[in-house]
Symmetry: C2
Subunit: 323 residues, 2 copies
């Protein structure tokens, strides 16, 4: 672990810029806020940036409103922490300004991380970037107060699906336990992150479930929804997160797929699987992801045609695999 | 803690009978199997009983098939462990034979426990009976092998909703962490317990969501389903577990209610709330439960009338509370 180098670096710089990725999730937001608060308490001048809208469900996190969406063209020199980003493209429109702005410290847990930093603190055994921040804070003896603990707990709970995913280790649970000892309320955080949604989400779920189809012979289930339906309910695309699992979770089903037809004529495809590598299937259509969770975007094929094409590819993959 | 007394008792008896409650959940089944295996490895003759069908999703737990459903009329004397039962009525049809059969050790975590045992190991700070069994095994120095760890992890994960509920403490998470160190796969257990259901469940959910209603002025949302629909899909009532949360989880909703109309003309009502005490409302109709999760059964009123009556009572409660 590079905590010695990090400590040296921190002793030499006053200005701290913390960035995380576009389409920010709980780990991105919680990690950035926690690390920002820790360094602010440590006497640094801290600014936090994200090239994407913070979903409203994270409004409960302390100081979430300090996150900025425009990176300055020529900020005073300092350390740039890039959190939870496998590569610099995850910084979206901020990328070009950021890479010119100073020393880059890359803190991440993704196996695909490109080690783009001047200092790289990449720990693929960590369930979340929040778990790495927790480790760093212990190593640097930075105090974990209630607010920081809440942000880190939200980060870790978010990236493990409340400790359900295979990335959950005994270290993850011990870290979460230590955070609870600082007064964090697990029920409040879980309710906010996982179990609260606008009324429109229920309508979207009902309509999506109504489109559920199962293949006659192969263990594939899929659903679809058009952006028009979201518009009807005043809903946002982020509300569709997790819908694909309703297909994947059906007993006997191996691959669940969710098709989202946009008004621009594209079809965004989300894959989830129990054991099959769906990142390879997504890759066939220019997408990617993890073996059990991947995605791609189909352009130039209308809705039903995109579905037929993708389902055929999944069927071919399953048939080859079963040979 | 009574581990000294328990240790003395165990040294004097060879026959062990372990019982848990009717409508068994993951904590009941996991705790009973873990405790049974621990005492069997300790050289005891162990039999495990449950007065209810074990839901199929627990088939993956080691030795789940050893659980018996008929308690013998005159078994050889021994210790009777009653797990996860607040009172003896939870033993349903086994109750009368059990109370005559020997020394009763009551191991439970419910605040309502009646201390009906000759020895009572009741720890209301434990998130699950599985957490108490884990503590006892450490105190008695009984080895936690892979199978036992899996059963205890399933028990704890089940009763905390995968560490989402307010009963989750740092001790709960440290215990779960120790169980993972014995090789338990959190993703497998979570998938089996929380995220796998028959195809019919999706149809039931879709149909239930289609009945969703929100009150015009008060934060109440409800859904209903008739047993006939379950019959159409070949579904079981246990598949409805958790549906009520879809109503409760809506942003701004305080009380979610699910009405299940049976073919016998009864209406079973499940209440979930964010802050209101719904056990009092359930109590108005002869039911009960916890402040945030309660239930009752309405007899003698047909479906829509039962709904109207209950909703009116919830509205009255919310209006009084808001004064």
């Amino acid at each position: 672990m590079n905590s010695r180098e990090l400590s040296d670096l921190l002793s030499k710089h006053e200005n701290i810029y913390i960035l995380t990725h576009t389409l920010p999730d709980g780990d991105a937001i919680g990690s950035a806020l926690a690390w920002g608060a820790a360094l602010r308490h440590h006497g640094k001048k801290v600014r936090i940036f994200c090239p994407g809208v913070i979903p409203r469900k994270y409004d409960f996190l302390p100081d979430v409103s300090v996150i900025e969406h425009v990176f300055p063209p020529a900020p005073p020199p300092g350390i740039i922490f890039i959190l939870d980003c496998g590569d610099l493209d995850r910084l979206d429109y901020m990328r070009d300004r950021v890479i010119k702005a100073g020393i880059i410290v890359n803190i991440d847990h993704h196996g695909t991380n490109l080690h783009f930093g001047d200092l790289n603190i990449v720990d693929t055994s960590a369930a979340a970037t929040g778990e790495i921040i927790y480790n760093l804070m212990l190593q640097l003896r930075l105090p974990l107060d209630f607010g920081i603990s809440m942000c880190l707990y939200a980060a870790i709970a978010s990236d493990t699906g409340s400790f359900k995913y295979g990335n959950t280790t005994s270290h993850t649970l011990h870290a979460a336990a230590a955070l609870l000892e600082n007064g964090v309320d697990p029920a409040l955080i879980s309710q906010k992150i996982f179990d609260e949604y606008p009324h429109s989400t229920i309508y979207l779920l009902r309509d999506a479930l109504a489109t559920l189809q199962l293949d006659d012979t192969l263990p594939i289930a899929w659903m679809n929804l058009h952006e028009d339906v979201l518009d009807d309910y005043g809903a946002k695309a982020e509300e569709l997160e997790g819908f694909v699992n309703y297909a994947k979770n059906i007993h006997g089903i191996e691959v669940g797929i969710f098709f989202y037809h946009t008004s621009k004529g594209e079809t965004k495809v989300g894959f989830r699987s129990k054991t099959v590598d769906v990142s390879a299937i997504a890759g066939n259509f220019g997408g990617g992801g993890h073996p059990r969770a991947a995605g791609c975007t189909i352009k130039g094929q209308a809705g039903p045609d995109a579905i037929r094409m993708v389902i055929q590819d999944v069927k071919d993959t399953l048939v080859i695999k079963s040979r």
